[in-house]
Amino acid sequence: MQAIRHPKDFWAGVFFIALGGGACLIAIGYTMGSAARMGPGYFPRTLGLMLALLGASLVLRSFRSQGEKIAFPTFRPLVIVLAAVALFSVTVGSLGLVISTILLVLLASIASHEYRRVESVIAAIALAAFVVVAFRYGLSLQLPTWPPALAG
């Protein structure tokens, strides 16, 4: 096998093939219909096919053209930031706005290389207070302030 010369194009192509091909496969289950009376499968299957073909051309091209390597300096921010968001979405219903916001800020802050512990605790509390005042009372957001279980 020939070497991949343009990794960014190669992987973008693989992504498009997977997505387009996947959409095509799923859309096989939908009625195709005719051009005059299109079923729900017509448009998605056409799009999926186009995307997969486009991806294939990218993959083929990546063996000829030259491109830089994909840079991954660190995975830390990716994992921490998105974990913090996920944590918020999982906890906010049962723990309430205050605790979830504090958890979100505390966890997310670690992702920075300039992390300072005391500062992030202060920021977390200040933000939680602001969120409650602005969103809970100001814009009457439908989320509990404190854990609903405690309120009984």
């Binding site: 960014k8 486009l54 930031v81 968001v85 979405s89 300039e114």
Partner: protein, 503 residues
């Protein structure tokens, strides 16, 4: 005169106390996020969309528009003082703006930005008022075939004018179109690509996509680079510019305004492209171009006028054709749909107070921006000192709560995580996310119009070519693709976008 009557109607709407207030909030927020590097108008507008639900439609649109053009103002402040583009449209302003600041002329640079932007904003407002009605008239004659072809043209143009690989941009559009199909099919009631998840039956909200792809991915990438920013100047003085300097900058402002107004109308255009084009033109026409890059006032005046004109002109395709030309306009479509207003040529006749009120508010907003940005510059300078390590957790909090309040649903927040990962992958693979958002918004519309057009023609695809308007649009789209594919243009284009990268 009809135009005059319309503007008077618009002004009467825009000067109501409520609308003035929301216009002010909009431009204030816009300046704020413009000044802060790493926070753009797309996530901000996405974040505030759910909140505008409770506002009257005019006030909501006035505020959201204010955020967009306000951000162009704010971005220039950061560009001049910190040599960092606060907003992507201010990339070229860094070149000469920062050099002016180093020579102690930061105040003058900021002033010429304000003056130039104001002139550009005024002109663009008048242009929208003049151009929109005739364009909307043409659009009213459009059938499904024309709409489909117009959307094809819009998407192609967005690809051609975007930076980076064209093939990848087309892939991103197709990806967006496919994502747009998630949910219940309106014609058959079939659930498509929902994987049996009840929350997906209404489709994915574009706010979720915008948050993940733009806000979260950008934060993650920013955190990967361990940069520190330093502010060049602590206090800005000497805002007054001399008459001689103004005379030197005025032609540049006019050229920038003209370029911005033209490029802004094009799909895929808007602020960033306009600013870049204006700078290039300015360098070409200048008799003595030796000072460019060393603090030439024209190098600040032209791109900043252009990006302001461009950002306002990009409202024209949205308001007249119902076609968003960039990611921010795609969000404006969302804002209008929330208030059950279908964007398109009928807005002008069915909601004249909304249409003209929005336009008039843009001019008032520009006046407010001059006041906000010049005398209050000190406040914005202070804001620049807030370290990023404090800023991004706050952005995350607002994004999470904004997404939640969209449907009062934690599922949406979880979905942003998935799109955050996708957005990060896209950055790594150098795939621009903006075309995806455009495709996403246009996906259902395109399918609907394709279906209708082919139903009317009994399945004959030649309908797209036999109708003259539709054929013209498709020929234009093809021509654009061919031009960009030509080796000579391709090389020039590559050079152009390389130069666009921040120094």
């Amino acid at each position: 005169m009809e135009l005059f009557d319309n503007l008077v109607l618009g002004l009467s709407v825009a000067v109501s106390l409520q609308n003035l207030l929301y216009c002010f909030i909009g431009v204030l927020l816009g300046t704020l996020i413009g000044v802060l590097p790493g926070v753009g108008p797309v996530p901000t507008i996405a974040m505030l969309l759910p909140i505008t639900y409770s506002l009257p439609p005019v006030a909501a649109l006035i505020m959201l528009a204010g955020i967009y053009y306000g951000a162009q103002y704010g971005g220039s402040t950061t560009a001049i003082l910190v040599n960092l583009p606060g907003e992507s449209s201010s990339v070229v302003t860094c070149i000469d703006g920062y050099q002016m600041a180093r020579r102690g002329k930061a105040g003058k640079a900021l002033s010429i930005v304000a003056i130039g932007s104001f002139i550009a904003g005024t002109f663009a407002t008048l242009m929208i008022a003049g151009f929109a009605p005739p364009l909307a008239e043409v659009a009213l004659k459009f059938g499904p075939a024309e709409y489909f072809s117009l959307m094809v043209l819009g998407l192609i143009a967005a690809v051609v004018l975007a930076s980076g690989s064209i093939v990848k941009a087309i892939g991103m559009i197709l990806t967006g179109l496919l994502l747009g199909l998630i949910g219940t099919d309106v014609n058959s009631g079939l659930q498509r690509f929902t994987f049996g998840i009840a929350e997906l039956s209404d489709g994915v909200s574009f706010v979720v996509i915008a948050m993940g792809l733009f806000a979260f991915a950008e934060i993650i990438i920013n955190l990967e680079h361990r940069g520190k920013r330093e502010i060049f100047t602590d206090n800005v003085s000497g805002l007054l510019i001399k008459w001689r300097e103004f005379r030197e900058a005025l032609p540049a402002i006019c050229r920038g305004t003209a370029i911005g107004s033209m490029l802004g109308i094009l799909p895929g255009g808007g602020a960033t492209l306009s600013a870049f084009a204006a700078y290039t033109v300015e360098k070409k026409v200048a008799k003595d171009a030796s000072q460019f890059g060393k603090g030439d006032i024209r190098g600040v005046a032209a791109p900043e006028s252009a990006n302001n004109a461009g950002s306002q002109a990009s409202f024209i395709p949205l308001l007249t054709l119902g076609i968003p030309s960039n990611a921010v306009m795609a969000l404006m479509v969302g804002a209008m749909t929330i208030h059950s207003i279908q964007p398109g040529p009928q807005v002008m006749t069915s909601n004249p107070e909304l249409f003209w009120g929005l336009i008039a508010s843009m001019w008032l907003g520009n006046v407010m921006l001059v006041i906000l940005n010049l005398p209050m510059i000190g406040i914005w300078v202070k804001l620049l000192k807030v370290p990023y390590r404090l800023l991004y957790p706050a952005i995350l909090v607002f994004c999470c709560i904004g997404t939640y309040s969209l449907n009062n649903n934690v599922f949406d927040v979880l979905m942003t995580v998935i799109f955050g990962v996708l957005g990060w992958i896209f950055v790594k693979l150098e795939c621009e996310p903006a075309p995806l958002l455009l495709g996403f918004v246009l996906g259902p519309l395109m399918e609907e119009n394709l279906r209708r057009a082919l139903l009317l023609s009994r399945g004959d695809p030649s309908v797209f070519l036999s109708r003259p308007l539709s054929a013209t649009l498709l020929v234009l789209a093809t021509a654009l693709l061919v031009i960009v594919a030509m080796p000579m243009v391709r090389k020039k284009r590559a050079e152009a976008f390389v130069e666009e990268q921040p120094a």
